[in-house]
Amino acid sequence: MEFEPVLTRNLGVPNIGDLKVYQSRGGYEALRQALASPRNELKQTVKDSGLRGRGGAGFFAGVKWDFLPADHPGPFYLVVNFDESEPGTFKDRYLCDIDPHQILEGVIVTAYINRIDTAYIFIRGEFHHQAEVLQRTIKQAYKEGLLGKNILSSDYSLECVLHRGAGAYICGEETGMLEALEGKRGWPRLKPPYPAVAGAFGQPTVINNVETLCCVPPIIQRGADWFKSMGTKKSTGPKLYGISGHVNRPGVVELPLGVPCRELIEKHAGGVRDSKRCKGVIPGGVSMGVLTRDELDCPLDFEGPPRYGCMGLGTAGVIVMDEDTCMVTALRNIVRFFAHESCGQCTGCREGSGWMLQILNRLLGGQGRGRDLELLLDLADAQGMAPGKTICGLSDGTAWAARTFINKYRSEFEAKVSTRDRVAV
């Protein structure tokens, strides 16, 4: 059966950013339908659909909404994570480029389901153009009664605020984002309390990724079973894959979850450029680790990459590296990114990532020492939220990248240890 695009259904429609055009394509019908339905039924539909967060962690969206305290008098907030900053990831920006009203409809429907009073769209600072587009879109929506008091003459009201980030990767971490939204330094918060209990401005808050929200209106309109008909059993629905690196046709494609990595590269990205061989693939943003060319059968869903030693699917921002790529340099670039973006709060990440960068630099400079690889792996183990060594997951990225690159391309790293020291090993 041919896959019918969901999130990219309006791709190429002229003037789709105009409300009238979007509405002529069935836009905001899901919102009308939602406003006429009981909230718990809508939430149940989303839960039944198995929709998982598209921001990286893959947590079930409906379950996350359930964490909001039912007896809280409000206000409730929705914070939309549009701080897309993971290297290799450009799907949310693409969504905004091809169909901005789709994002807003997802925001309003999700807000309605969760009795949200105000939705904050936190957009990455560097997305100047997209911020302007969204601001226009929001303004239009207010004008047409899709936002503000009594949306579409219902008794539901919602305010929507676009907030531009100041340019820090860490503000994509949900509690770092809340701090930044509140005007503070973007330092991730200690949890508990979780945002669902005490989030933005101390109030219960739902935080969802842009792509996740875009999935909600189609689910409301077409039902959970339709959504589940796409993808795999545990990873349902369509997914945007962003492909970059050494391929012939980089870009964003929408496919059902679970597409094998090889198929994505060969069929949807035109294969590795210049007829070269693939050396490795980063499945979902640089924090997830790396797949070797022997692991390209890995299905790109939430379960696939962990089976191959990666942290997860992440953002499905796939980076392809050809046979000429130096994996030591690749890892150095990744670690340089994380060392630069470390907020500096936790000792392991602040000091560890900087130290790792120093070691990788000396390896590349031919000054590598005998114990450097062990030291790198040790330093990778000294950080990360999963083992409880840091507050947030930023440094899990450093750790997984380092671990998978070194373990999977060990000989390449060993070759960088200076000959004098190599004898000593």
């Binding site: 200690l190 907020c343 500096g344 000792t347 392991g348 060594k389 507050i391």
Partner: protein, 530 residues
């Protein structure tokens, strides 16, 4: 309402603690330790140094212990009934080693020239929990210059381990928020905003809470190695709050003051005025011996001679004693105030007791963290009041003394001083004392007042003598002498004892019991501390 108690075990030791308390605090309260940097009981929880990690577990429904997989930070984990906490596992120890190694890579290791050495948690923890070698080897450390960040403070950024205690202190306790973290990652450092220095009355505490040698107090810089210092518990005399302090001294010199915790009074803090206001102890102007006026010229004298002169002067009997006025000092301890009053009243029921001057700000100053600097800039105004109330009889306030001298009602005036500044008497008051027939000054600093006195008793400053202050909450707090009095000066309580009791041996305990009984001071006069 008392909170529910729960019992948990720490490395096998059972500990009982209030529900909701953090594991770290409960463990510390029970007398055990878990290394930690960013956690400070007086501040909010940051959870960022990651040193206080422990392994925890809970019994499952069958009662079997189930350990949680990730390490948890004991500072942010509340205690629960039947919880198992372990800091003695290999995983925790490895983690501690790793955190300490990481903190040291950009630390200058300049302990030999760092004031914090000896009381540095980076030193102590590295020794106790760290690796003995660093794998960082000879690589370039990040160097950051020393910064002048305020009137009393220097910031050695490259020694900083970014625990952010100081940042939280200025936001939560002083409420002034002068500090922030700037830059990111391992380039992060603490800084002030746009050159605007730390300007709050509690700034000295920042040097205390800094676990390393990053924030240091300028007045103490390079003065002493801390292991030479002896810490004597005392009470601060600079306002009527009576903050509990330590006097840190070596070889007869008080080098610095530190807060001593008392949750009823000062918590864990003291103000800068108290902390940095003890220079008068060792001022050149200290009176180091008694003086007598002989043929219009003041000459040094022994204590016995000075006492004898006072006795001779008042030997005239009742008429002379009736015209005796004694000025009590709010800086004197209860014992001195009491003995002087008792002596005067012993000579004559008509002798006048005068309450000495109390300098006062408009109102108490309360900080966001609850710390209070009292308006009254003297430690024992309440004690003075209690003594005056107890003895009753003729009594004047300081401002009324003028008239009494002018009218001849007060001919002999004993002025008790002890103020921490020299010229606490105004020019007008000095002119007035000139009219008194016989002026006795009991003070610590040489001044116009002591120079015009007929008899000068060189007293001891509060750090040099034992005593009791009653603070603005009516708490009586006793303190001990830390150092010897300057020169031939004597403990004022003993001096006044000899004045009244002659050769009867000095018995402080008996005296304190008598005062407690007379003034109705309930309970112990010992200082309270947590």
């Amino acid at each position: 309402m008392a909170k529910k108690k729960v019992t948990f075990t720490f490395n096998g030791h059972p500990i009982e603690a209030e529900e909701g308390l953090s594991v770290l605090q409960a463990v510390l309260d029970a007398g055990y330790t878990i290394p930690h940097y960013c956690y400070h009981e007086g501040l909010s929880v940051a959870g960022s140094c990651r040193l206080c990690a422990v392994e925890v577990g809970h019994p499952d429904k069958d009662g079997n212990l189930k350990m949680i997989q990730p390490l948890v930070m004991s500072c942010q984990t509340p205690v629960r009934q039947d919880m198992t906490v372990r800091s003695d596992t290999e995983r925790v120890r490895d983690h501690q080693k790793s955190v300490l190694e990481l903190l040291l890579i950009n630390h200058p290791l300049d302990c030999p020239v760092c004031d914090q050495a000896g009381e540095c948690l980076l030193q102590d923890y590295s020794f106790r929990y760290g690796r003995s070698i660093s794998r960082f080897e000879t690589d370039d450390k990040i160097k950051q210059p020393k910064k002048d960040v305020g009137k009393y403070l220097l910031l050695y950024s490259d020694r900083c381990i970014l625990c952010t205690r100081c940042v939280r202190f200025t936001r939560e306790v002083s409420g002034t928020a002068e500090l922030a973290v700037v830059h990111r990652g391992n380039k992060s450092e603490i800084d002030i905003f746009g050159g605007r220095g730390i300007d709050n009355k509690l700034s000295g505490n920042l040097a205390d809470i800094c676990p390393v040698g990053a924030l240091l107090a300028k007045p103490f810089l390079f003065k002493q190695r801390v292991w030479f210092l002896e810490n004597t518990p005392s009470v601060c005399p600079r306002c009527s709050r009576g903050c509990n302090i330590y006097l840190c001294h070596n070889q007869g010199v008080v080098w610095r003051l530190l807060p001593r915790r008392n949750d009823r009074i000062n918590g864990q803090w003291i103000c800068d005025e108290g902390r940095f206001g003890s220079a008068f102890l060792h001022a050149d102007e200290r009176l180091s011996e008694c003086r007598l006026r002989r043929e219009r010229i003041q000459q040094p004298a022994s204590l016995a001679e000075a006492l004898q002169r006072v006795g001779e002067h008042l030997a005239g009997g009742q008429p002379a004693a009736d015209k005796l006025a004694v000025v009590l000092s709010p800086f004197a301890c209860l014992e001195e105030q009491y003995l002087l009053s008792r002596w005067a009243r012993g000579l004559s029921a008509q002798a006048t007791l005068v309450s000495g001057p109390v300098f006062s700000a408009d109102q108490d100053e309360t900080f966001p963290g609850g710390f209070v600097i009292a308006a009254e800039k003297a430690p024992n105004r309440r004690g003075m009041q209690r003594v005056l109330d107890h003895f009753g009889g003729p009594r004047l306030i300081w401002q009324q003394l003028e008239q009494a001298i002018e009218s001849g009602a007060a001919e002999t005036v004993w002025v008790q001083g002890g103020h921490p500044w020299r010229h606490w008497c105004t020019g007008e008051q000095l002119a007035l004392f000139r009219q008194a027939k016989f002026l006795i000054a009991q003070d610590i600093l040489d001044s116009e007042l002591t120079r015009q006195a007929d008899v000068v008793f060189a007293g001891a400053a509060w750090a040099e003598k034992a005593g009791t202050f009653i603070n603005d909450q009516d708490l009586a707090q006793s303190y001990q002498a830390a150092i010897e009095p300057a020169g031939a000066a004597v403990d004022d309580t003993e001096l006044l004892w000899r004045l009244g009791q002659g050769d009867l041996p000095f018995d402080r305990q008996r005296l304190q019991a008598e005062i407690a009984d007379a003034l109705g001071i309930k309970g112990s006069t010992e200082t309270e501390s947590k």
